[in-house]
């Protein structure tokens, strides 16, 4: 779709940067990022949205998309968050948030739920991240800080098992450093598993050749690459 320009650690010549489209006037908020991810999920896909921010993607799937949501704790065709009388302690998503079931829902136990992932039956999963490398390595479970209590949950299983792994995160950390890196410094979740990175500043394709800029938001590709270079 867009012109291929390699960035972040595997910087290619700048000639193509001017052809990368800027498709929003400013950085995206989390809802706009979620809408963008939803746009790129093929109709009829089986999808896992992890926990936290990626679950917002569900709000932006078009009606009639036929996308079936999987939750690791044993359900397909999960519905939206439960409200008021709908809340049932026996029915939650992976983040322990009460949810609802859609017609055609199915329940299964944990070993089956993860066999579904590992066996390559899920088309897409969307995860958050601390760091992603230009070649698609993912770090999203542990900062490595000595006093941190590590928790991995289903992140490694999803990263390894889903046919496509999308990541949704801010591009820059609070201290201004880029979270898209040549090589992850945080403990890894999975190797070469992320194929698409959605951020507030830009969207990238990731792969063996590095990160490829697809579109930017609120800044030109040239400006963004310069910031990434500094980060």
């Amino acid at each position: 779709m867009s012109t291929r320009t390699l960035v972040a650690g595997v910087l290619a010549g700048p000639a193509d940067l001017d052809a990368v489209p800027t498709t929003a006037p400013g950085p995206l908020d989390k809802h706009a990022m979620a809408a963008l991810v939803a746009r790129d999920i093929p109709a009829g896909s089986f999808v896992n949205l992890g926990i936290g921010q990626p679950t917002l993607v569900a709000d932006h799937l078009p009606a009639g998309s036929g996308v079936v949501l999987h939750t690791e704790n044993g359900m397909l065709n999960m519905g939206p968050a439960a409200l008021g009388d709908e809340v049932d302690p026996d029915l939650t998503n992976a983040g322990k948030v009460p949810v609802t079931e859609l017609p055609g829902a199915a329940y299964f136990h944990h070993a089956d739920s993860f066999a579904m992932m590992r066996g390559g039956h899920l088309d897409v999963c969307v995860l958050g991240a601390f760091q992603v490398s230009a070649r698609g390595d993912l770090a999203n479970w542990h900062t490595g800080a000595p006093d941190a209590i590590p928790a991995v949950g289903g992140a490694m299983d999803l990263a390894t098992g889903a046919r496509q792994v999308f990541v949704m995160m801010t591009l820059f950390a609070k201290d201004g450093t880029s979270k898209l890196v040549p090589s992850c410094t945080y403990p890894l979740t999975g190797l070469a598993c992320v194929s698409r990175l959605y951020t507030d500043q830009a969207v990238f394709d990731l792969g063996p050749d590095g990160a490829v800029l697809r579109e930017t938001f609120g800044c030109s590709a040239r400006e963004l690459v310069e910031r990434l270079g500094r980060g």
Binding site: T71, E72, N73, G74, M75, D88, P89, D90, L91, T92, K96, E101, Y107, F108, H109, H110, A111, S113, F114, A115, M117, R118, H142, D147, I149, P150, A151, V152, G153, G154, A155, M156, D157, T160, G161, P187, L188, T189, G190, L191
Partner: protein
């Protein structure tokens, strides 16, 4: 052995020994057998290894067992949560050991134990700290980690209904680890909301057949 219908949770957890490995069902509080855990606290077994997805939420259930100082080691996938303050405190004081296992590997290790599988090669975790020191093998061009079965002396699980033969059905996502844990422990204890007569459960809908279940107790609250 025939499934025993217990009069109360205390009878259901009788005989759990010090140093036991206890599989505890539930994902967060969904499917958590709180009455059985409370009974285990009263029963007094200590120096336990607990295998569960989380390491306790709030102050009840698994968190209460941890707070009572009965747990030497937790094997789980996701200890840190907004309401895991009991575990967090014990861990930071070095009073509980943690073995962190990817969630699917946790489930599959118990499945392997229950199914008589000696070990299995799994792609999850390759290249990460959780695979360090483990044997790896390339299969069909992809790296796999060798994982061993995880067996319990006791499993405490929550289900929805049981019949008097120990056949179990679950409710919604409270099913989670119950069925796999029921296969993987020497003594399996199920807390259910209702015990029904033999023949009252649709045989096509039974999730855990009674062969796996040793003790059942009805907890109606």
């Amino acid at each position: 052995m025939t499934t025993v219908l217990c009069a109360d949770p205390d009878e259901a957890v009788a005989g759990v020994g010090d140093g036991s490995t206890v599989l505890v069902g539930g994902f967060g509080m969904a499917g958590m057998p709180v009455a059985l855990i409370d009974a285990l606290i009263r029963q007094g077994a200590t120096d336990l290894t607990v295998v569960s997805n989380n390491a306790g939420n709030g102050d009840t259930g698994l968190a209460a067992l941890l707070a009572a100082g009965r747990v030497r080691k937790v094997v789980c996938s996701f200890p840190r949560q907004a309401d895991s303050w009991v575990f967090d405190g014990l861990y930071r004081q070095g009073r509980v050991e943690l073995e962190l296992v990817p969630q699917g590997t946790l489930a599959e290790r118990m499945r392997a134990a229950g199914a008589g599988i000696g070990a299995f090669y799994c792609p999850t975790g390759v290249g990460t700290p959780l695979a360090e020191g483990k044997e790896t093998r390339e299969i069909d061009g992809r790296s796999h980690v060798l994982e061993y079965p995880l067996r319990g002396d006791v499993a405490l699980i929550g289900a929805y209904r049981a019949d008097r033969m120990g056949n179990l059905v679950y409710r919604k996502t409270a099913r989670n680890f119950g069925p796999v844990m029921a296969t993987a422990a020497t003594t399996v204890v199920a807390q259910v909301r209702e015990v029904v007569d033999v023949g009252a459960l649709d045989p096509e809908a039974v999730v855990t057949p009674g062969i796996y279940v040793d003790r059942v107790v009805e907890v109606t609250s």
